[in-house]
C-alpha cells in the first residue's frame, strides 16, 4: 500500500507452513506462504493439482492449525474459526443437510445466535432471493439440481453475513453453462454485500474472470509463485471480458505458470 492512510488488511497470511505427519513420511503441503488481502478484494487462488489449495483454505478457515506462521483476520491472530467468516464447500451435496428444507438450511448458521424469529425469517428470504431461489424455501436439497444446491450453499453463507467469504472450488462439479451463471452471481453478491472473497479454483479462466488478483501457487510444498493483478474492466461480462486481449494474456500467463509447476521459466 502506497497510501498513507493504510487500511487494515482483511486477511494476512504470515509465513504459514503446513506439514502433515512427521519424520520421513512428512508431507510439506505449504511452505512459508505470505500474502495479504485488502477488504473488498476478490482473490483467486490457483495452482497445480495437489498444490495444497484446500489445505490453505482450511488453514485460513481455522479448521487446520498451521504448523508454522499465523493467519491474521481483521488484525487478530486466529486460533480457531474466526468470526465473520463463511465458507462455501466444493461438495454441495455433502455440505447441505438433507433432512432440512432449503429455508432451514439457509437459516442454519443462525442457530444459537442472537437473532429474533422475524429477523431470521427476513434474512433467509433475502439470502434466497439474492441467489434467485426465492420460491424454493420449502423444498429439500435433493430435490434441486447441482447448480441450485450450490446456490443454496451460497445463500447459507450470505445468511451468516460474513465479511470474509472462502470458496473452495465451488463450481468444480457443475456444467459449463450453470457455472457461468454462478460466477456472475458471485460477482453480483460481492458488489451488493461488499465482502472480501477468496476463491480457490483449478479453472484458470475462472480465476482470471472473477478476480482482482490471482495468486498462483507452486507444486507442493506450495509457495507463492506469483501474485498477479487483474485489471480488467468492471463489470465483468462472460463474452466481452473473455475476448479482452488482456484476459487472454493473463490466462496464458497463469496457465504457463501452472504448467511449469509454479517455477519461473
Amino acid at each position: 500500500m502506497t497510501d498513507t492512510t493504510t487500511v487494515q488488511p482483511a486477511l494476512v497470511v504470515d509465513h504459514v507452513s503446513h506439514v502433515y505427519g512427521s519424520g520421513a513420511s512428512a508431507h510439506h503441503a505449504i511452505s512459508d506462504l505470505a500474502f495479504s488481502v485488502q477488504p473488498g478484494e476478490f482473490v483467486s487462488i490457483v495452482g497445480p493439482s495437489g498444490a495444497g489449495k484446500t489445505t490453505l483454505l482450511r488453514t485460513l478457515a481455522g479448521l487446520l492449525r498451521p504448523s508454522e506462521g499465523a493467519v491474521i483476520v481483521d488484525g487478530n491472530r486466529i486460533s480457531g474459526v474466526p468470526a465473520g467468516m463463511a465458507m462455501v464447500f466444493q461438495d454441495y451435496s455433502r455440505s447441505l443437510l438433507p433432512w432440512l428444507t432449503i429455508e432451514k438450511n439457509v437459516g442454519f448458521p443462525l442457530e444459537g445466535k442472537k437473532v429474533t424469529k422475524a429477523e431470521k425469517k427476513a434474512i433467509i428470504q433475502e439470502s434466497l432471493e439474492a441467489v434467485g431461489l426465492g420460491g424454493f424455501a420449502k423444498r429439500y436439497p435433493w430435490q434441486l439440481s447441482g447448480g441450485m444446491q450450490q446456490r443454496v450453499a451460497i445463500a447459507r453463507a450470505l445468511a451468516y453475513r460474513p465479511t470474509l467469504l472462502l470458496m473452495d472450488e465451488p463450481f468444480a462439479s457443475v456444467d459449463a453453462q450453470t457455472r457461468e451463471g454462478l460466477e456472475d452471481l458471485v460477482l453480483r453478491i460481492r458488489d451488493t454485500y461488499g465482502m472480501t472473497i477468496l476463491f480457490v479454483t483449478h479453472d484458470i479462466d475462472e480465476s482470471v474472470y472473477l478476480a482482482n488478483r490471482v495468486l498462483v501457487l507452486s507444486r507442493p510444498p506450495a509457495r507463492l509463485a506469483e501474485d498477479i493483478a487483474v485489471n480488467l474492466p468492471e463489470p465483468r461480462d462472460q463474452i466481452t471480458t473473455r475476448e479482452d486481449p488482456e484476459f487472454i494474456r493473463l490466462r496464458g500467463h497463469v496457465a504457463r505458470l501452472i504448467h511449469s509447476g509454479g517455477e519461473p521459466e
Binding site: R58, A61, G62, L63, V81, A83, M85, A86, M87, F89, D91, R94, S95, L97, P98, W99, F108, P109, E111, G112, Y140, P141, W142, Q143, Y160
Partner: protein, 283 residues
C-alpha cells in the same frame, strides 16, 4: 437397507402407470393378506377334513379362543388382557426404551471419539458374542426373579443392536457436514443434536428395528423362568397343562403384537426419515 432398496425397485417398477393412492394401498394390502389367507384357509380345510389333530387346532378356533381369552368377559379383560398381555408389552417397551437410550449414548461416544471406540469395541464384541438369552440365569442371580430383572435383561440384550448401529452411523456422517458446523460457529451441543444424530438416524433406526424384534423375543424368554405373569408365562402354563388351543392362541397374540410394533416403527421411520428414503431413491 434391504427395505429401502426394495422400495426403490418397487417405485421403479410401478413408474409406467402411476396408480392412485388408494389403489396402491389396496394392492400392497393384497400382497400381504392373500398369502396369509391362503395358508390359514388350507390349514382350516386340512384340520376340518382330517379330525382329530390335537397338536394343530383349527385356525378359526385359535382366533376365537384368543378373543375369548383376552376379551371374553370383563374378568378376562381384567386378568388376562391387563394382567398378562399388557404386562409383557409393558416390560418389553420399558426394556426397549432403556436399551435404546443406553445404546444411542454409548454408540454416540464410540462414534465421536476414536480412542473411546478402540477401547470399548473389544468389550462390546466380546459381550455381544454371548447369546443374550444365555445371560438370563446370571440376571436372575444378580437381580432376582422380579419385573426389574426382566426389564434390565431386555434392555441389555437390545442395547447392542442400537449401540453398534449408532456408532457406525455417527462415524459415517460426512466430514464436510462437521466442517459446516464448525465454520458457522455452531456450538458442540447443537452440532451433536442438529448434525450428527440426524445424520446417523437412518442407521440408528435400522438398529431400532432389529432391537424391537429382539425385545419381544427376550421378554417372552424372560417370562419362561420364574415368572408369575406375562404371555411367556401363559405359554409355558398352557404347554404344561396340555392346553394346546391356548398355546396356539398365545403364539397368535405374539405374532399380532410383533406386526403392530413393526408397523408402528415403520410409521415413525417414515415420518422421521422421509428425507432419507426420498433422497436415496433419487440418487
Amino acid at each position: 437397507m434391504t427395505d429401502t432398496s426394495t422400495r426403490a425397485l418397487a417405485a421403479r417398477a410401478s413408474r409406467p402407470a402411476v396408480r392412485p393412492r388408494w389403489q396402491r394401498a389396496l394392492v400392497s394390502f393384497a400382497y400381504f393378506a392373500i398369502p396369509i389367507a391362503a395358508v390359514i384357509g388350507i390349514w382350516q380345510l386340512v384340520t376340518m377334513l382330517n379330525p382329530p389333530a390335537p397338536f394343530f387346532p383349527q385356525p378359526f378356533a385359535i382366533i376365537a379362543n384368543l378373543w375369548d381369552l383376552l376379551f371374553g368377559s370383563p374378568k378376562a379383560v381384567q386378568q388376562v388382557f391387563y394382567g398378562e398381555f399388557l404386562q409383557t408389552v409393558g416390560r418389553m417397551a420399558l426394556g426397549f426404551a432403556i436399551g435404546a437410550v443406553w445404546g444411542i449414548v454409548i454408540g454416540t461416544i464410540m462414534g465421536l471419539w476414536r480412542g473411546a471406540r478402540e477401547t470399548i469395541n473389544p468389550i462390546v464384541e466380546f459381550l455381544r458374542s454371548i447369546p443374550a438369552t444365555a445371560t438370563l440365569p446370571l440376571f436372575i442371580i444378580l437381580l432376582g426373579g422380579g419385573n426389574d430383572m426382566r426389564v434390565v435383561f431386555i434392555a441389555y440384550g437390545v442395547s447392542w443392536f442400537v449401540l453398534i448401529n449408532t456408532s457406525v452411523g455417527v462415524g459415517s456422517v460426512h466430514k464436510t457436514l462437521l466442517d459446516v458446523g464448525k465454520v458457522f460457529k455452531i456450538s458442540p451441543a447443537r452440532r451433536l443434536f442438529r448434525i450428527l444424530l440426524p445424520g446417523a438416524m437412518p442407521k440408528i433406526f435400522a438398529g431400532l428395528r432389529i432391537a424391537s424384534t429382539a425385545a419381544l423375543l427376550l421378554a417372552i424368554v424372560s417370562e419362561f423362568m420364574l415368572a408369575t405373569d406375562g404371555v411367556g408365562y401363559m405359554l409355558v402354563q398352557a404347554q404344561g397343562r396340555f392346553q394346546l388351543l391356548n398355546m396356539w392362541s398365545w403364539m397368535l397374540a405374539l405374532a399380532i403384537l410383533g406386526l403392530i410394533i413393526n408397523s408402528l416403527l415403520e410409521w415413525i421411520e417414515g415420518r422421521l426419515l422421509g428425507w432419507h428414503r426420498q433422497s436415496k431413491s433419487r440418487a
